[in-house]
Symmetry: C2
Subunit: 182 residues, 2 copies
Amino acid sequence: MNFCSNCGARIVVRVPEGDTLPRHMCDACGTIHYRNPLMVVGSIPEWEGRVLLCKRAIEPRLGMWTLPAGFMELGESVAQGAIRETLEEANARVELGEMFTMLSVPHVNQVHVFYLAQLLDLDFGPGTESLEVALFREDQIPWKDLAFRTISTTLKHYYTDRKHGAYRMHADEILAPRTPLT
Amino acid sequence: MNFCSNCGARIVVRVPEGDTLPRHMCDACGTIHYRNPLMVVGSIPEWEGRVLLCKRAIEPRLGMWTLPAGFMELGESVAQGAIRETLEEANARVELGEMFTMLSVPHVNQVHVFYLAQLLDLDFGPGTESLEVALFREDQIPWKDLAFRTISTTLKHYYTDRKHGAYRMHADEILAPRTPLT
């Protein structure tokens, strides 16, 4: 951030009076430009024991598999965002169940939320950000080719809870990898 | 948003190729400036059946009562943000329990998350954004002077669940009031 999005003047970074953290500030018009974490919202679409995954058509992690999810938009609820992303990425209609994971990823300033979901029909297919969409049994999940740790964490919780016969909400934190991914 | 925060050129609003929503775009440097919902994170600090509330020293809702909460910052988890806000607003140290409410407020583009929490000591007091901090029994809660509907919704769920002897996670949506608040 170099310029004020309100008036176009140069931005300075310093701690505002009464604040505790450095902020991007405009001395010309007085605007403080806060930056905050982003929410990524999605679902775990299920059909007769199988789970729908999407092969990513975009970076990052092009060609790897993910649950349908994406950045929450203005003017929608978390649940509405999860339904919309499932429709956009997999052309899949779902009925949401309970919220299942809320995973903070502080080193990338994101919070990922996944809902349990039932596919309403089998008329799904890749959206513009997916190369392929398919249903997987547990023994077919491409664990080594999952796009993000929030996906593998969510699926691990899902199969563990399923074995125990009851799903519960999991609020976890995904720590930075010791060796940064390239 | 009038100017590009990257290069300082004028912003235009239109739907980017391959997108479905209008975005703030810079034709000079090609940056797309997305805007997304913000997370507000806080806690329900409990001490021997009483709940800690803060009287707001800042607008909006100056002079009204709230649970300690505020905007989640970069580089922290949701739980870390809830602990930090409780410390900042009420100088109160808590041990977090389970996540209790996640309330989407789409008409103001926010998601509010509250954790159950146990106060670790009684050495609390108003932070810079609070006028007063106090513990309330259920029959003392100032229901008509609560600052936000996410606070009253969270406290209603809290007392209902307490009567039933078990707390569970509540993911709800707070709809826009029919008569806009002034």
